[in-house]
Subunit: 246 residues, 2 copies
Amino acid sequence: MSEAGIERRSGVALWRQIADQIRQGVGAGLSDESGRLPTELALAERFGVNRHTVRTAIQALVQEGVLRAEQGRGTFIERQPRLSYPIGPRTRFSEGLGGQARELRGNLLDHAYEEAPEAVAEALEIAPGAPVLRLDTMAEADGRPISRARSYFDAQRFRGFERHFARTGSITMAYRHFGVSDYLRRSTTISARHADSADLEILKLSPGAIVLVALGLNVDQAGRPLQFSETRFSADRVELQVGNTT
Amino acid sequence: MSEAGIERRSGVALWRQIADQIRQGVGAGLSDESGRLPTELALAERFGVNRHTVRTAIQALVQEGVLRAEQGRGTFIERQPRLSYPIGPRTRFSEGLGGQARELRGNLLDHAYEEAPEAVAEALEIAPGAPVLRLDTMAEADGRPISRARSYFDAQRFRGFERHFARTGSITMAYRHFGVSDYLRRSTTISARHADSADLEILKLSPGAIVLVALGLNVDQAGRPLQFSETRFSADRVELQVGNTT
DNA sequence: TCTAGTTGTCTAGAACAATAGACAAATCTG
DNA sequence: CAGATTTGTCTATTGTTCTAGACAACTAGA
Protein backbone atom coordinates (compact mmCIF):
# COMPACT_ATOMS: atom_id res chain seq x y z
CA MET A 1 0.00 0.00 0.00
CA SER A 2 3.01 2.31 0.33
CA GLU A 3 5.59 3.38 -2.21
CA ALA A 4 8.96 5.07 -2.22
CA GLY A 5 7.75 8.41 -3.56
CA ILE A 6 9.73 11.57 -2.87
CA GLU A 7 8.46 15.01 -3.88
CA ARG A 8 10.85 17.84 -4.57
CA ARG A 9 10.06 21.52 -4.01
CA SER A 10 7.06 20.53 -1.92
CA GLY A 11 7.90 22.55 1.16
CA VAL A 12 9.00 19.42 2.96
CA ALA A 13 12.73 18.79 2.90
CA LEU A 14 13.82 15.57 1.22
CA TRP A 15 15.53 14.33 4.35
CA ARG A 16 12.30 14.70 6.31
CA GLN A 17 10.26 12.83 3.72
CA ILE A 18 12.82 10.06 3.75
CA ALA A 19 12.86 10.00 7.54
CA ASP A 20 9.08 9.67 7.55
CA GLN A 21 9.17 6.81 5.07
CA ILE A 22 11.84 4.98 6.99
CA ARG A 23 9.92 5.44 10.23
CA GLN A 24 6.89 3.89 8.57
CA GLY A 25 8.90 1.17 6.91
CA VAL A 26 10.25 0.16 10.26
CA GLY A 27 6.84 -1.31 10.98
CA ALA A 28 6.66 -3.06 7.62
CA GLY A 29 9.45 -5.01 5.97
CA LEU A 30 12.04 -2.37 5.29
CA SER A 31 14.67 -4.31 7.18
CA ASP A 32 15.52 -7.97 7.21
CA GLU A 33 14.97 -10.18 10.25
CA SER A 34 18.08 -8.90 12.02
CA GLY A 35 16.65 -5.40 12.25
CA ARG A 36 19.38 -4.02 10.04
CA LEU A 37 18.53 -1.19 7.67
CA PRO A 38 19.87 -1.18 4.09
CA THR A 39 23.17 0.73 3.80
CA GLU A 40 23.14 4.47 3.35
CA LEU A 41 24.27 4.06 -0.25
CA ALA A 42 21.49 1.58 -1.01
CA LEU A 43 18.88 3.87 0.52
CA ALA A 44 20.26 6.84 -1.40
CA GLU A 45 19.83 4.95 -4.68
CA ARG A 46 16.41 3.70 -3.72
CA PHE A 47 15.14 7.20 -2.95
CA GLY A 48 17.11 8.81 -5.77
CA VAL A 49 19.02 11.24 -3.57
CA ASN A 50 22.53 11.85 -2.34
CA ARG A 51 23.95 9.76 0.46
CA HIS A 52 24.28 12.85 2.66
CA THR A 53 20.56 13.47 2.41
CA VAL A 54 19.87 9.96 3.64
CA ARG A 55 22.35 10.54 6.46
CA THR A 56 20.45 13.63 7.57
CA ALA A 57 17.25 11.58 7.68
CA ILE A 58 18.90 8.79 9.65
CA GLN A 59 20.39 11.25 12.13
CA ALA A 60 16.95 12.66 12.81
CA LEU A 61 15.58 9.18 13.48
CA VAL A 62 18.51 8.34 15.73
CA GLN A 63 17.67 11.50 17.65
CA GLU A 64 14.09 10.29 17.93
CA GLY A 65 15.20 6.92 19.21
CA VAL A 66 13.85 4.98 16.23
CA LEU A 67 17.24 3.97 14.84
CA ARG A 68 20.72 3.29 16.12
CA ALA A 69 23.76 3.73 13.84
CA GLU A 70 27.02 1.84 14.42
CA GLN A 71 30.11 2.81 12.52
CA GLY A 72 31.43 0.00 10.36
CA ARG A 73 28.46 -2.26 11.09
CA GLY A 74 25.32 -0.62 9.84
CA THR A 75 22.15 1.07 11.04
CA PHE A 76 19.68 -0.82 13.19
CA ILE A 77 16.12 -0.50 14.25
CA GLU A 78 15.38 0.27 17.89
CA ARG A 79 12.22 -1.75 18.27
CA GLN A 80 9.45 -0.14 20.22
CA PRO A 81 6.02 -1.29 19.12
CA ARG A 82 3.03 0.99 19.42
CA LEU A 83 0.97 0.79 22.56
CA SER A 84 -2.67 -0.02 21.89
CA TYR A 85 -5.04 2.24 23.78
CA PRO A 86 -8.61 0.97 24.03
CA ILE A 87 -11.49 3.41 23.69
CA GLY A 88 -14.98 2.44 24.74
CA PRO A 89 -17.68 3.10 27.33
CA ARG A 90 -15.25 2.16 30.08
CA THR A 91 -12.19 4.05 28.86
CA ARG A 92 -9.71 4.50 31.68
CA PHE A 93 -6.14 5.40 31.16
CA SER A 94 -4.44 3.28 33.77
CA GLU A 95 -6.37 0.10 33.04
CA GLY A 96 -6.26 0.59 29.31
CA LEU A 97 -2.57 0.06 28.92
CA GLY A 98 -2.35 -2.62 31.57
CA GLY A 99 0.11 -5.30 30.67
CA GLN A 100 1.67 -3.42 27.77
CA ALA A 101 4.06 -1.41 29.88
CA ARG A 102 5.79 -2.05 33.15
CA GLU A 103 5.51 1.40 34.60
CA LEU A 104 2.63 3.81 34.07
CA ARG A 105 2.54 7.27 35.51
CA GLY A 106 0.29 10.28 35.27
CA ASN A 107 1.84 13.64 36.08
CA LEU A 108 0.14 16.91 36.90
CA LEU A 109 1.73 19.67 34.86
CA ASP A 110 -0.49 22.60 35.72
CA HIS A 111 -3.94 23.51 36.95
CA ALA A 112 -6.07 26.60 37.30
CA TYR A 113 -9.59 27.73 38.08
CA GLU A 114 -10.96 29.61 35.10
CA GLU A 115 -14.10 30.72 33.34
CA ALA A 116 -15.45 28.04 31.04
CA PRO A 117 -14.78 28.64 27.33
CA GLU A 118 -17.86 28.20 25.21
CA ALA A 119 -17.11 24.72 23.89
CA VAL A 120 -16.29 23.50 27.40
CA ALA A 121 -19.44 24.95 28.91
CA GLU A 122 -21.54 23.34 26.25
CA ALA A 123 -19.97 19.92 26.75
CA LEU A 124 -20.26 20.08 30.56
CA GLU A 125 -23.77 21.48 30.31
CA ILE A 126 -23.01 24.51 32.46
CA ALA A 127 -23.31 28.23 31.77
CA PRO A 128 -20.62 29.85 29.60
CA GLY A 129 -18.17 31.63 31.88
CA ALA A 130 -19.06 29.47 34.88
CA PRO A 131 -16.00 28.48 36.94
CA VAL A 132 -14.19 25.34 35.80
CA LEU A 133 -11.07 23.53 36.90
CA ARG A 134 -8.51 23.09 34.14
CA LEU A 135 -6.08 20.21 34.61
CA ASP A 136 -3.01 19.80 32.39
CA THR A 137 -1.51 16.36 32.68
CA MET A 138 0.86 14.06 30.87
CA ALA A 139 1.39 10.32 31.01
CA GLU A 140 4.47 8.17 30.63
CA ALA A 141 4.84 4.43 30.06
CA ASP A 142 8.22 3.00 30.99
CA GLY A 143 9.67 6.47 30.99
CA ARG A 144 8.48 7.37 27.47
CA PRO A 145 5.98 10.20 27.15
CA ILE A 146 2.75 8.77 25.75
CA SER A 147 0.16 11.49 25.94
CA ARG A 148 -0.73 14.89 27.29
CA ALA A 149 -4.20 16.03 28.20
CA ARG A 150 -6.13 19.11 29.12
CA SER A 151 -9.25 18.32 31.13
CA TYR A 152 -12.04 20.53 32.42
CA PHE A 153 -14.25 19.88 35.44
CA ASP A 154 -17.16 21.79 36.91
CA ALA A 155 -15.41 23.78 39.64
CA GLN A 156 -18.46 23.90 41.87
CA ARG A 157 -18.67 20.15 42.05
CA PHE A 158 -14.97 19.26 41.98
CA ARG A 159 -13.12 21.97 43.91
CA GLY A 160 -9.80 20.56 45.09
CA PHE A 161 -9.82 17.72 42.55
CA GLU A 162 -6.26 18.55 41.52
CA ARG A 163 -4.88 17.70 44.97
CA HIS A 164 -6.43 14.25 44.93
CA PHE A 165 -5.16 13.66 41.41
CA ALA A 166 -1.65 14.85 42.20
CA ARG A 167 -1.50 12.50 45.18
CA THR A 168 -2.85 9.38 43.47
CA GLY A 169 -1.93 10.05 39.84
CA SER A 170 -5.33 8.65 38.87
CA ILE A 171 -8.53 10.34 37.72
CA THR A 172 -10.58 7.34 38.78
CA MET A 173 -9.23 7.52 42.34
CA ALA A 174 -9.73 11.25 42.57
CA TYR A 175 -13.38 10.89 41.57
CA ARG A 176 -14.00 8.64 44.60
CA HIS A 177 -13.39 11.57 46.92
CA PHE A 178 -16.35 13.28 45.33
CA GLY A 179 -18.70 10.35 45.60
CA VAL A 180 -18.28 9.25 41.98
CA SER A 181 -17.72 5.52 42.15
CA ASP A 182 -18.20 4.84 38.47
CA TYR A 183 -18.29 6.77 35.21
CA LEU A 184 -18.70 6.20 31.51
CA ARG A 185 -17.16 7.58 28.34
CA ARG A 186 -20.07 9.03 26.42
CA SER A 187 -18.28 10.13 23.30
CA THR A 188 -14.83 10.41 21.77
CA THR A 189 -13.88 12.37 18.69
CA ILE A 190 -10.59 11.49 17.09
CA SER A 191 -8.54 13.56 14.71
CA ALA A 192 -4.88 13.96 13.87
CA ARG A 193 -2.57 16.88 13.24
CA HIS A 194 1.01 17.98 13.36
CA ALA A 195 2.43 18.43 16.83
CA ASP A 196 2.62 22.05 17.99
CA SER A 197 5.58 23.39 19.91
CA ALA A 198 4.14 22.48 23.31
CA ASP A 199 3.52 18.93 22.10
CA LEU A 200 7.10 18.70 20.90
CA GLU A 201 8.43 19.72 24.28
CA ILE A 202 6.16 17.71 26.53
CA LEU A 203 6.02 14.54 24.45
CA LYS A 204 9.67 14.85 23.40
CA LEU A 205 8.86 14.70 19.70
CA SER A 206 10.72 16.11 16.74
CA PRO A 207 9.24 18.76 14.47
CA GLY A 208 6.81 17.35 11.94
CA ALA A 209 5.65 14.59 14.28
CA ILE A 210 1.98 13.66 14.36
CA VAL A 211 -0.36 13.62 17.34
CA LEU A 212 -3.68 11.81 17.62
CA VAL A 213 -6.17 14.18 19.22
CA ALA A 214 -9.05 12.65 21.19
CA LEU A 215 -11.84 14.87 22.49
CA GLY A 216 -13.67 12.92 25.18
CA LEU A 217 -16.66 13.42 27.44
CA ASN A 218 -17.06 11.40 30.64
CA VAL A 219 -20.43 11.20 32.37
CA ASP A 220 -21.56 9.73 35.69
CA GLN A 221 -24.05 6.90 36.03
CA ALA A 222 -26.91 9.36 35.88
CA GLY A 223 -25.58 10.64 32.57
CA ARG A 224 -24.43 13.96 33.99
CA PRO A 225 -21.21 15.34 32.39
CA LEU A 226 -18.18 15.03 34.67
CA GLN A 227 -15.16 15.82 32.57
CA PHE A 228 -14.39 17.20 29.15
CA SER A 229 -10.87 16.56 27.93
CA GLU A 230 -8.55 16.80 24.97
CA THR A 231 -5.84 14.16 24.95
CA ARG A 232 -2.93 14.20 22.53
CA PHE A 233 -1.15 10.94 21.86
CA SER A 234 2.15 10.61 20.06
CA ALA A 235 1.04 8.85 16.88
CA ASP A 236 4.37 7.04 16.66
CA ARG A 237 3.91 5.44 20.04
CA VAL A 238 0.19 4.85 20.36
CA GLU A 239 -2.74 3.51 18.37
CA LEU A 240 -6.35 3.77 19.46
CA GLN A 241 -8.44 0.64 19.72
CA VAL A 242 -12.22 0.86 19.34
CA GLY A 243 -14.29 -2.22 20.10
CA ASN A 244 -13.00 -5.52 21.41
CA THR A 245 -9.87 -7.16 20.17
CA THR A 246 -9.98 -10.88 19.49
CA MET B 1 -4.58 24.19 23.53
CA SER B 2 -2.86 25.08 20.27
CA GLU B 3 -0.32 27.78 19.76
CA ALA B 4 1.18 29.71 16.90
CA GLY B 5 4.41 27.74 17.07
CA ILE B 6 6.69 27.75 14.06
CA GLU B 7 9.82 25.62 14.04
CA ARG B 8 12.80 26.69 12.01
CA ARG B 9 15.28 24.23 10.51
CA SER B 10 12.82 21.38 11.10
CA GLY B 11 12.84 20.07 7.55
CA VAL B 12 9.40 21.51 6.97
CA ALA B 13 9.42 24.85 5.16
CA LEU B 14 7.97 27.76 7.13
CA TRP B 15 5.36 28.45 4.48
CA ARG B 16 4.13 24.88 4.75
CA GLN B 17 3.89 24.99 8.54
CA ILE B 18 1.98 28.24 8.28
CA ALA B 19 -0.29 26.80 5.62
CA ASP B 20 -1.02 23.83 7.88
CA GLN B 21 -1.82 26.08 10.82
CA ILE B 22 -4.09 28.29 8.77
CA ARG B 23 -5.84 25.24 7.35
CA GLN B 24 -6.46 24.07 10.91
CA GLY B 25 -7.41 27.49 12.15
CA VAL B 26 -10.04 27.68 9.49
CA GLY B 27 -12.02 25.22 11.61
CA ALA B 28 -11.44 27.17 14.82
CA GLY B 29 -11.72 30.91 15.23
CA LEU B 30 -8.91 32.19 13.09
CA SER B 31 -11.24 34.41 11.14
CA ASP B 32 -14.05 36.66 12.21
CA GLU B 33 -17.67 35.94 11.35
CA SER B 34 -17.36 37.22 7.81
CA GLY B 35 -14.87 34.51 6.93
CA ARG B 36 -12.15 37.04 6.34
CA LEU B 37 -8.60 36.09 7.23
CA PRO B 38 -6.31 38.58 9.02
CA THR B 39 -4.22 40.60 6.54
CA GLU B 40 -0.97 39.21 5.24
CA LEU B 41 0.95 41.73 7.32
CA ALA B 42 -0.91 40.76 10.50
CA LEU B 43 -0.32 37.07 9.87
CA ALA B 44 3.36 37.71 9.17
CA GLU B 45 3.73 39.43 12.55
CA ARG B 46 1.74 36.76 14.32
CA PHE B 47 3.92 33.97 12.98
CA GLY B 48 7.10 36.02 13.17
CA VAL B 49 7.98 35.70 9.49
CA ASN B 50 8.18 37.87 6.42
CA ARG B 51 5.04 38.80 4.54
CA HIS B 52 6.25 36.92 1.47
CA THR B 53 6.43 33.71 3.45
CA VAL B 54 2.81 34.12 4.48
CA ARG B 55 1.95 34.80 0.85
CA THR B 56 3.52 31.54 -0.22
CA ALA B 57 1.43 29.71 2.38
CA ILE B 58 -1.74 31.45 1.27
CA GLN B 59 -1.07 30.70 -2.38
CA ALA B 60 -0.74 27.01 -1.54
CA LEU B 61 -4.09 27.07 0.27
CA VAL B 62 -5.73 28.94 -2.59
CA GLN B 63 -4.45 26.19 -4.84
CA GLU B 64 -5.99 23.62 -2.49
CA GLY B 65 -9.30 25.42 -2.54
CA VAL B 66 -9.24 26.30 1.16
CA LEU B 67 -8.85 30.06 0.69
CA ARG B 68 -9.74 32.69 -1.88
CA ALA B 69 -7.68 35.90 -2.19
CA GLU B 70 -9.14 39.10 -3.62
CA GLN B 71 -6.85 41.98 -4.47
CA GLY B 72 -7.65 45.09 -2.49
CA ARG B 73 -10.23 43.34 -0.31
CA GLY B 74 -8.58 40.56 1.62
CA THR B 75 -8.34 36.81 1.84
CA PHE B 76 -11.41 34.72 2.56
CA ILE B 77 -12.18 31.25 3.73
CA GLU B 78 -13.81 28.82 1.35
CA ARG B 79 -15.79 27.03 4.04
CA GLN B 80 -15.53 23.29 4.14
CA PRO B 81 -15.79 21.96 7.70
CA ARG B 82 -14.49 18.55 8.64
CA LEU B 83 -16.86 15.70 8.07
CA SER B 84 -17.57 13.69 11.22
CA TYR B 85 -17.39 9.97 10.59
CA PRO B 86 -19.06 7.82 13.27
CA ILE B 87 -17.45 4.57 14.32
CA GLY B 88 -19.38 1.99 16.27
CA PRO B 89 -20.96 -1.45 16.02
CA ARG B 90 -23.04 -0.28 13.07
CA THR B 91 -20.34 1.56 11.15
CA ARG B 92 -21.43 2.00 7.52
CA PHE B 93 -19.83 4.44 5.19
CA SER B 94 -22.83 5.67 3.29
CA GLU B 95 -25.08 6.15 6.30
CA GLY B 96 -22.33 7.56 8.48
CA LEU B 97 -21.91 10.75 6.55
CA GLY B 98 -25.59 11.14 5.80
CA GLY B 99 -26.68 14.74 5.90
CA GLN B 100 -23.19 16.18 5.99
CA ALA B 101 -22.63 16.03 2.26
CA ARG B 102 -24.89 16.29 -0.72
CA GLU B 103 -23.26 13.72 -2.91
CA LEU B 104 -21.54 10.56 -1.69
CA ARG B 105 -19.81 8.13 -3.99
CA GLY B 106 -17.73 5.01 -3.61
CA ASN B 107 -15.42 4.14 -6.51
CA LEU B 108 -13.74 0.86 -7.28
CA LEU B 109 -10.08 1.51 -8.09
CA ASP B 110 -8.77 -2.01 -8.42
CA HIS B 111 -9.44 -5.59 -7.39
CA ALA B 112 -7.66 -8.92 -7.51
CA TYR B 113 -7.88 -12.46 -6.20
CA GLU B 114 -4.79 -13.19 -4.15
CA GLU B 115 -3.35 -15.38 -1.45
CA ALA B 116 -4.12 -14.05 2.01
CA PRO B 117 -1.21 -12.31 3.75
CA GLU B 118 -0.68 -13.50 7.30
CA ALA B 119 -2.37 -10.60 9.09
CA VAL B 120 -5.38 -10.82 6.77
CA ALA B 121 -5.75 -14.57 7.22
CA GLU B 122 -5.62 -14.19 10.97
CA ALA B 123 -8.27 -11.48 11.00
CA LEU B 124 -10.61 -13.36 8.66
CA GLU B 125 -9.96 -16.65 10.50
CA ILE B 126 -8.93 -18.51 7.39
CA ALA B 127 -5.73 -20.37 6.51
CA PRO B 128 -2.70 -18.25 5.53
CA GLY B 129 -2.38 -18.29 1.75
CA ALA B 130 -6.06 -19.10 1.23
CA PRO B 131 -7.63 -17.16 -1.65
CA VAL B 132 -8.98 -13.72 -0.79
CA LEU B 133 -10.53 -10.92 -2.78
CA ARG B 134 -8.69 -7.61 -2.44
CA LEU B 135 -10.78 -4.51 -3.13
CA ASP B 136 -9.20 -1.07 -3.51
CA THR B 137 -11.75 1.69 -3.25
CA MET B 138 -11.98 5.40 -2.65
CA ALA B 139 -14.84 7.63 -1.56
CA GLU B 140 -15.76 11.19 -2.42
CA ALA B 141 -18.18 13.59 -0.77
CA ASP B 142 -19.33 16.45 -2.95
CA GLY B 143 -16.47 15.78 -5.31
CA ARG B 144 -13.76 15.93 -2.63
CA PRO B 145 -11.79 12.77 -1.95
CA ILE B 146 -12.49 11.66 1.61
CA SER B 147 -10.93 8.25 2.04
CA ARG B 148 -9.35 5.32 0.34
CA ALA B 149 -9.59 1.75 1.52
CA ARG B 150 -8.14 -1.67 0.90
CA SER B 151 -10.52 -4.45 1.91
CA TYR B 152 -10.12 -8.23 1.98
CA PHE B 153 -12.88 -10.81 1.70
CA ASP B 154 -12.85 -14.59 1.84
CA ALA B 155 -12.79 -15.45 -1.88
CA GLN B 156 -14.62 -18.74 -1.39
CA ARG B 157 -17.60 -17.05 0.14
CA PHE B 158 -17.64 -13.78 -1.83
CA ARG B 159 -16.51 -14.60 -5.38
CA GLY B 160 -17.81 -11.87 -7.69
CA PHE B 161 -18.31 -9.37 -4.87
CA GLU B 162 -16.44 -6.70 -6.83
CA ARG B 163 -19.06 -6.67 -9.60
CA HIS B 164 -21.90 -6.04 -7.18
CA PHE B 165 -19.89 -3.31 -5.47
CA ALA B 166 -18.94 -1.64 -8.73
CA ARG B 167 -22.57 -1.55 -9.78
CA THR B 168 -24.08 -0.24 -6.55
CA GLY B 169 -21.11 1.61 -5.01
CA SER B 170 -22.11 0.17 -1.66
CA ILE B 171 -20.63 -2.59 0.45
CA THR B 172 -23.92 -3.07 2.29
CA MET B 173 -25.81 -3.62 -0.96
CA ALA B 174 -23.20 -6.00 -2.31
CA TYR B 175 -23.45 -8.13 0.81
CA ARG B 176 -27.15 -8.70 0.18
CA HIS B 177 -26.31 -10.72 -2.91
CA PHE B 178 -24.49 -13.16 -0.70
CA GLY B 179 -27.25 -13.51 1.85
CA VAL B 180 -25.73 -11.14 4.37
CA SER B 181 -28.58 -8.89 5.43
CA ASP B 182 -26.82 -7.36 8.41
CA TYR B 183 -23.29 -7.05 9.78
CA LEU B 184 -21.44 -5.53 12.69
CA ARG B 185 -18.13 -3.74 13.19
CA ARG B 186 -16.32 -5.87 15.71
CA SER B 187 -13.19 -3.75 16.13
CA THR B 188 -11.46 -0.68 14.78
CA THR B 189 -7.86 0.32 15.37
CA ILE B 190 -7.01 3.91 14.66
CA SER B 191 -3.60 5.41 14.03
CA ALA B 192 -2.20 8.33 12.08
CA ARG B 193 0.76 8.86 9.81
CA HIS B 194 2.05 10.98 7.00
CA ALA B 195 0.42 10.36 3.66
CA ASP B 196 2.46 8.24 1.28
CA SER B 197 2.70 9.03 -2.42
CA ALA B 198 -0.32 6.92 -3.33
CA ASP B 199 -2.36 8.72 -0.67
CA LEU B 200 -1.25 12.05 -2.06
CA GLU B 201 -2.38 11.12 -5.54
CA ILE B 202 -5.67 9.42 -4.74
CA LEU B 203 -6.80 11.78 -1.98
CA LYS B 204 -5.37 14.85 -3.75
CA LEU B 205 -3.29 15.90 -0.76
CA SER B 206 -0.13 17.94 -0.59
CA PRO B 207 3.12 16.43 0.71
CA GLY B 208 3.32 16.30 4.48
CA ALA B 209 -0.41 15.80 4.85
CA ILE B 210 -1.72 13.46 7.51
CA VAL B 211 -3.97 10.46 7.09
CA LEU B 212 -6.03 8.74 9.77
CA VAL B 213 -5.64 4.99 9.35
CA ALA B 214 -8.48 2.76 10.55
CA LEU B 215 -8.08 -1.00 10.59
CA GLY B 216 -11.55 -2.52 10.81
CA LEU B 217 -13.08 -5.97 11.06
CA ASN B 218 -16.71 -6.57 10.08
CA VAL B 219 -18.51 -9.73 11.20
CA ASP B 220 -21.90 -11.22 10.37
CA GLN B 221 -24.66 -11.79 12.90
CA ALA B 222 -23.17 -15.13 13.81
CA GLY B 223 -19.88 -13.39 14.60
CA ARG B 224 -18.10 -14.82 11.57
CA PRO B 225 -15.52 -12.44 10.00
CA LEU B 226 -16.69 -10.96 6.71
CA GLN B 227 -14.28 -8.22 5.80
CA PHE B 228 -10.94 -6.90 6.96
CA SER B 229 -10.08 -3.44 5.75
CA GLU B 230 -7.65 -0.57 6.08
CA THR B 231 -9.21 2.81 5.43
CA ARG B 232 -7.21 6.00 5.12
CA PHE B 233 -8.98 9.29 5.76
CA SER B 234 -7.61 12.71 4.94
CA ALA B 235 -7.11 14.12 8.44
CA ASP B 236 -7.86 17.61 7.19
CA ARG B 237 -11.27 16.63 5.94
CA VAL B 238 -12.50 14.01 8.37
CA GLU B 239 -12.67 13.33 12.09
CA LEU B 240 -13.71 10.04 13.62
CA GLN B 241 -16.56 9.95 16.09
CA VAL B 242 -16.72 7.16 18.68
CA GLY B 243 -19.85 6.86 20.78
CA ASN B 244 -22.98 8.95 20.47
CA THR B 245 -23.01 12.66 19.97
CA THR B 246 -25.90 14.20 21.88
C1' DT C 1 -12.12 61.98 -6.27
C1' DC C 2 -8.86 61.27 -2.81
C1' DT C 3 -6.90 58.40 0.81
C1' DA C 4 -6.06 54.43 3.49
C1' DG C 5 -5.78 49.67 3.42
C1' DT C 6 -5.18 45.48 1.04
C1' DT C 7 -3.29 41.98 -2.35
C1' DG C 8 0.03 41.38 -6.49
C1' DT C 9 4.70 41.71 -8.62
C1' DC C 10 9.49 42.54 -8.96
C1' DT C 11 14.53 42.62 -7.50
C1' DA C 12 18.40 41.43 -4.55
C1' DG C 13 20.70 39.21 -0.87
C1' DA C 14 21.03 35.93 3.26
C1' DA C 15 20.04 31.46 5.24
C1' DC C 16 19.20 26.72 4.54
C1' DA C 17 18.93 22.18 1.88
C1' DA C 18 20.96 19.10 -1.33
C1' DT C 19 24.76 17.45 -4.25
C1' DA C 20 29.53 15.92 -5.07
C1' DG C 21 33.82 14.05 -3.88
C1' DA C 22 37.44 12.61 -0.82
C1' DC C 23 39.08 10.35 3.03
C1' DA C 24 39.02 8.76 8.10
C1' DA C 25 37.42 5.30 11.47
C1' DA C 26 35.30 1.18 12.82
C1' DT C 27 33.83 -3.63 11.80
C1' DC C 28 33.83 -8.08 9.69
C1' DT C 29 35.72 -11.89 6.74
C1' DG C 30 39.14 -14.71 5.03
C1' DC D 1 46.99 -8.89 8.92
C1' DA D 2 44.84 -7.34 4.38
C1' DG D 3 40.89 -6.04 2.04
C1' DA D 4 36.13 -5.04 1.62
C1' DT D 5 32.24 -2.84 3.61
C1' DT D 6 30.07 0.50 6.27
C1' DT D 7 29.34 4.78 9.00
C1' DG D 8 31.57 9.45 10.28
C1' DT D 9 33.63 13.98 8.99
C1' DC D 10 35.16 17.63 6.10
C1' DT D 11 35.09 21.05 2.09
C1' DA D 12 33.03 23.17 -1.83
C1' DT D 13 29.25 24.20 -4.98
C1' DT D 14 24.52 24.63 -6.51
C1' DG D 15 19.59 25.23 -5.88
C1' DT D 16 15.61 26.45 -2.91
C1' DT D 17 13.55 29.04 0.82
C1' DC D 18 13.21 33.20 3.47
C1' DT D 19 13.95 38.06 4.21
C1' DA D 20 13.84 43.00 2.86
C1' DG D 21 12.22 46.83 0.47
C1' DA D 22 9.78 49.25 -3.13
C1' DC D 23 5.97 49.97 -5.87
C1' DA D 24 1.76 48.64 -8.76
C1' DA D 25 -3.21 47.36 -8.83
C1' DC D 26 -7.47 47.05 -6.76
C1' DT D 27 -11.29 48.09 -3.13
C1' DA D 28 -13.93 50.63 0.12
C1' DG D 29 -15.15 54.61 2.54
C1' DA D 30 -14.87 59.57 3.48
